[in-house]
Symmetry: D3
Subunit: 232 residues, 6 copies
């Protein structure tokens, strides 16, 4: 894995704000508490958690169009923000923080591969911080944690499983998987794609083993940064 | 698996047109050949294949808004059509049919679960038919097939792996996976999601085994319908 | 007239669902009851009826863009769905089914001319079925019918009036009219267009006479399919 | 008919510019020549003619939303501008002014009924003026006129046919027709709508007779304003 | 300054309606009272005032695209309508006419430079007329005037300050300022732009002096047209 | 003035990339060279420079909607990015770097007032760095500098002119000006707005004097950071 850092309190207004760095990939993950829920939850006493993802136009080697100027989010952006949302909804108990919405914003300021998995890792910390602030403010009694979740990309390059691919490695890989797991080693999301070259069961097993090891390390790091005991 | 049928030549203008039925899920899959490619491929001599997905407003229990009237495709729609496109690009050799685009349209007329995997299965046949017509017309010499692909959903319900979930089963499942494989049993796409309840490695293995069996049957069916030898 | 069929119950979730076939033109017409009305009718006790129209991208000889992907409905689509809505509002008593909206969706799966008039004919049956279901459910006492309506296209080709034009005939016609009439032979909508070649009063009279005859047959067919007495 | 005036040269930059007044309905109709055609006509040597329609937000009794601010043109707007375009394409020979597009803009500054028919009448004059300027500039030899066209609305109020309905009359009418005819009394467009109350053949004949008389007067007025001989 | 006229009551439905003419620049300014306010003011007892700006496609030398057809207002349009709104909010006391919104629409029918400042001048009169009508109707006791505002453009051409630039002068100027002032000679808005050539303090002082003189004349004219005493 | 820093090379792919900090306002300014120009400049040999502006959803005290998700940029965003573009076009000679476009992206990651002026200051450095890289690469011979530009906000609070307002000061000010000047003390842009309370000439003079002093300091800082001689 590349050098990984989480800088909490990166911006000052958000309830949680984390600069997430995986090598040259840098993402600002913020968590915002809003005192309302989508229509389908009104009056149920339950909360919601959702995510949005964006990339600064020049986060990449060549400048890409600004989605706000084009007037629509790309399919890729929507696919990623839906993945982040589902992953983090698995991490927290939506019934345990009232009729509120936790909005996670993951904005990539520099992209060198693995932005979706890095976003999930950073959003986990930002969300935890936002819930902690609610505890400190007496709004809820305890962080509504179900499990820590971590995410990492894996790929197969010339028959060898590789962890945490950067952009160049990703381009050279035949296969690319994004894995999201809990601290207990359970699967939350698993997305494998082999547009270039299909993969067999052995490759899958190798990739999953590698991902599991990487995610365990990531969750340890998340917990140590948050000062949470690493009981698993 | 539910009763599965593929009705070729369902509409008359498309180069390939298949009414795909998985139980109460019914999808019209058409394949259209266009004599142009996206800008990034112009002048390369290579072709492209892409997919679009839609759902009639009343394909479901309660009517949903028409995306054309709302003015944008939902994130779900985009996620699905990107999956279909990637899956079918793995099935065919994009270098072997000239600077042309194969457009696959999957329109759900009745939805009872599994629309994305059924779309892939039906689009496989529609695409094959479209390429066959090009062979018949002398445009290309042979169908540019790399491998047949099939797709199926699997889930875990109360600890038991279930294949080809309908809408009600899908709602009751803790976990939901969509698997796309080739005729050789290689993975093309694998998407598992456990928003409700995470799953362990044993569940994954069970689901994959079941999916592999289901996909093998599906590909046999596809081949027999197309009159292609089932050599694997 | 070309062979015409109406297949009721074509899809299973809609309150009314009819596969409408005029020769090679095939349209799925569904009727959905919604328990709300547009803002201008709230609190009035009156209902509303409206229609939407769409065409699958490959319903036609060459693939047309998907309106949902382009982000807007074409002027043609809007013109047609407004015509269908007005025609069906003439068929039913909007004051007699409470504050509800009947939504009619007409989706063309194969287009060979006359899609707007075929949509009206099929939507008439789908709407009738939806209201009948409300009667069966005890929501209303009787189908709020004012008159059956039918619709047909007519044109002038080389001086001769032609009924129910298919795509090729339509292209060869100088003039094209779409007529909507009630079972009593009264006019509901009449749209004639002569972009290519203007027409005189004699041609109009011939076209109207032919249309009236065709619509009478159509309404007979609608009634016999619905099992309604043909009292006119 | 209400007092009708056409003020040519109303604005100074357009090749044709006419303030069209039908009673309290006031519309600015401009004609612009553009040195290009839509893609489907490139290289054919043929021209095109198209129309756009708009209404100032406070042209009406209560302010309506600005379409540019809402981000889309309404179905009504599109229906009207398509009607204007078709009507004027019947008036001129599109093969006789080179690969150019005549753009007609009809902007309603005050609306009191009959805006679509008044737009057609005013656009006829603006288009004629624009073509005349091309003749004066030596670009073409003669105005590519096929026939003058005029348009008027008619309706049935309590059994009596009424010509050129204002907004209040229009609201009280059971039926509303818009008729576009040539100077020779031939039909170009005919749109009748009876949402409120259907109409019979006698009413239709009365309305058509009245419309024909009104349009003949209108075309006389158009010609006298343009100084064109009234040969029919 | 070019010949300037304000024609009140130009259209009949708006509460205030003024045809504003600065030389060949012609703008219809209407003021509409709406019985509601934006969400952030609901329940406060305070009113709001806002403006929208548009240009007919052929108001200019060459036709520009219709913003409603393109589906978005340009940055220039938004910049201008925000300036008009801010300027007029300075003119009136928003706390003194209840929970209502005054909507100002400025639609350019012919453009020869200075459309944004002419819009402000005309909107001032239209707004005054609309408030006067509310006084006449007994809705409010007095026009909620804080100060009359006027606006004018100034520029530097070859070292000489010029007032009220037309399109050609504007193109030749190195610098272009738009100044909005009150009847007391206080600044409301000041926007100077020197894309072509920067300007020094002496030029600024000259332009401001000239603008102040011009605006004083404009406000005199506004008052005399409205029959308001010119007490400053 | 608040503590001001410019961190060059903040992200690694852009030709120029500067983290701009004015107190708690933090903006990433990047400059990208593109090898093409807008249509109106093609074939002229001249270049173009343009800017886009955005704000991360949680840059502010309360989260604002993501513009890409809403599907349009706000009027405020467009107003600001147009100002940045005009200001920087004054700084460089557009005829001296070939048919290329310099795209400036200013993305606010934390907002505490003065984001538009800070964007201009940071974009100046990013643009300079991008041009320097072109010089280093031998593409152009020298940075096409006309003058350094700097920008600052000023306001009047209780009769006293204040420089570089933060969000709280800005809310308390009666008047707010944004001034852009060159290193020679010439004006490039000047925008004053007094929605709350109009201002007189004395206040203007005080604000301008203060702004001039502040901008001179800013430009000194820009030059010292870039290692450019401060000759003025």
């Amino acid at each position: 894995m590349r050098p990984i850092t989480f800088e909490r309190g990166f911006t000052r207004y958000a309830e949680g704000s984390v600069l997430t760095t995986f090598g040259d990939t840098k993402i600002i993950c913020t968590a915002s508490i809003e005192e309302r829920v989508p229509p389908f939850l009104r009056g149920t006493g339950r909360g919601w958690l959702t995510a949005e993802y964006g990339m600064l136009p020049r986060a990449t080697h060549t400048r890409s169009d600004r989605e706000a100027a084009r007037g629509r989010q790309s399919g890729r952006t929507q696919e990623i923000q839906r993945l982040i949302g589902r992953s983090l909804r698995a991490a927290f108990d939506l019934n345990a923080f009232g009729e509120r919405t936790l909005k996670l914003d993951c904005d990539v300021i520099q992209a060198d591969g693995g932005t979706r998995t890095a976003s999930i890792c950073g959003a986990m910390i930002a969300a935890y911080d936002a819930f902690s602030e609610m505890v400190d403010d007496g709004v809820i009694e305890t962080v509504p944690l179900r499990h820590f979740v971590g995410a990492i990309s894996v790929g197969m390059m010339q028959g060898i499983a590789m962890l945490d691919l950067d952009y160049q490695e990703d381009s050279m890989c035949d296969t690319d998987m994004n894995i999201v797991m809990t601290e207990e080693g359970m699967f939350v999301e698993m997305q494998g794609t082999a547009e270039g070259d299909v993969f067999d069961r052995i490759a899958l097993d190798n990739m999953l083993a590698l991902a599991q090891k990487g995610i365990a390390e990531l969750i340890s790091l998340q917990k140590s940064i948050l000062g949470v005991d690493n009981q698993y």
